[in-house]
Symmetry: C2
Subunit: 315 residues, 2 copies
């Protein structure tokens, strides 16, 4: 059992330690984990391998503020285990909390005893996943948000997938979703030519969003159309539902009857255009990305509606 | 019939006109309407009263860019009448379009003939409603978005309304909604103590938003709770659904069984707190309003879910 607080002084003297309790001036007290030094002390019984990678990508050094550790205490009093959610009341958190001791336990956990008797035990993998280093955070963010994007022009060959494979095969569904996330559009082939299959597809991955046009709606030529999409005329490039406070990120279109003539769908990558505009006409880009525009949608479909929202054209 | 383009020169000479066609240098060509001068020319047959208020609140002067007028042409070729929506394709709009003539017609409309033969007729009230003056825009924005807000502290007497009145009486429903919009919270009294009445209330004014917790959900003590709200313990102040990309603006809670002890609801006005924080601790305000925080929600309710979103705490 290597008691951190014991070797802080000697660690600072040697400029090396497995775990540092840093109480710098002007910075909040924090727990500091140095991987390079971990490795040098690899022979130490309580220097766990799982800790030795902590923060390596950012110079081999990870720092965890003590206040953050206390706020994230994983004990059953502070965290509801079944929800993995915070139970500790914000008002009960002492942001100036002080530490009695920090230890590496025999089973490779970091144990912190706080002044006032409460103690917290952190699993090394748990800490590692929450490493504050820029590189580690980038990795976690990429895992959480899949931020890889392809921006495309007219040379794009629209990626395709098979409707029935996506419905039946989990791997095909995942591949479809990852492509949709990365490229923004996927053409699914083979859906039967009757209504109802948009709903099947949505239920495959989540649930439909109800709007004032209903759960789904028919885009077809209608008398007294309350939307230009409900006519046979050509539409300008557009995003859908700009009059919603939160326009949808993804929309499903199911072509049931193809027009004998016309009826082409033209697609454009708004992100690509925005980047081009930023480069070629910064003033226009600034206007479109800073001025909020009024959007109105009014009429009657699933219900009567008169919607009004304010958005920048480029967000 | 007073042909605008004819009297521009004399108008500029006299520094007065009913309608000015302004073709300034360095600014786009535009239609300018001066109300003060309108009034001075009140004896003029074609100086309609409805135009004489145009832009009065902003110094009696309204300016409409010709490009904007062409873009907003209300004729059946450019606007789908049944939807009151633009049909003119963006690609077909000539942003450098020139004007052949501008006229006030006998029935008090502004007629613009564009080079290339197309013509537009604008109703004076339609123009007035779209006046570009700052004051006129403020008025329209207030009508559209009801931006009046009350920020409150502990002295608030929570406004109340009656559940059945709101359901049955349109004026009571409107009063409830306006108060909800202005104050952020309204206590409805008299709802029957059984499930289902949240849905009735929602259907009164719109429709429920489906989330991974279902259309509605029971907040009650549950074994293996997947949310701290599903326990009997005290919750910190919170907003709901921060792990949604678009957290809800309004939430309905229906108290069906009141606890014998405890069970208090504490409310706080986040906008009020944010303003206080901005004044008292600008650095903290800056952090909370600029740093995006990861929010996670995971579990199973209406369906299995693992949600991840990134928001600033103060938006």
């Amino acid at each position: 059992m290597s008691r951190c607080s014991r070797f802080v002084v000697s660690a600072l003297r040697r400029s090396s330690s497995t775990l540092q309790c840093v109480r710098g001036r002007g910075v909040p007290p924090q727990l500091s984990v140095s991987s390079r030094l971990q490795q040098r002390r690899g022979q130490h019984t309580h220097s766990p391998a799982s800790l030795s990678d902590l923060g390596r990508s950012d110079g081999g050094h990870s720092v965890y503020p003590f206040t953050w550790l206390r706020d994230n205490c994983q004990c059953p009093m502070c965290t509801l285990q079944s929800a993995q959610a915070r139970k500790l009341l914000v008002g009960d958190l002492d942001v100036n909390i002080r530490v009695d001791s920090v230890e590496l336990t025999a089973d490779n956990k970091v144990s912190v005893v706080w002044q006032g008797q409460h103690s917290s035990v952190f699993d090394c993998d748990w800490l590692k996943r929450r490493c504050f280093s820029a590189a580690a955070r980038r990795t976690v963010q990429e895992e959480l948000f899949l931020s890889e994007r392809v921006h495309w022009g007219s040379s794009l060959r629209v990626p395709t997938a098979h409707f029935h494979e996506v419905l039946q095969d989990d791997r095909a569904a995942l591949a479809w979703l990852l492509t949709l996330r990365r490229v923004g559009v996927v053409l699914l082939r083979g859906a039967p030519p009757e209504p109802g299959h948009v709903a099947r597809l949505a239920e495959r991955i989540g649930y439909l969003r109800l709007t004032f046009y209903g759960h789904t709606f028919k885009v077809q030529d209608k008398p007294m159309a309350n939307n230009v999409a409900y006519t046979a005329e050509k539409c300008s490039f557009h995003t859908d539902y700009p009059a919603l406070h939160y326009p949808p990120g993804v929309q499903f279109l199911h072509c049931i009857n193809q027009a004998a003539r016309g009826g082409e769908n033209l697609l454009v990558d708004g992100f690509h255009i925005a980047e081009k505009l930023r480069a070629e006409d910064p003033e226009a880009f600034h206007s479109l990305s800073s001025l909020a525009i009024d959007f109105t949608d009014t009429g009657s479909d699933y219900c009567s509606f008169k919607l009004q929202a304010k958005h920048r054209v480029i967000q």
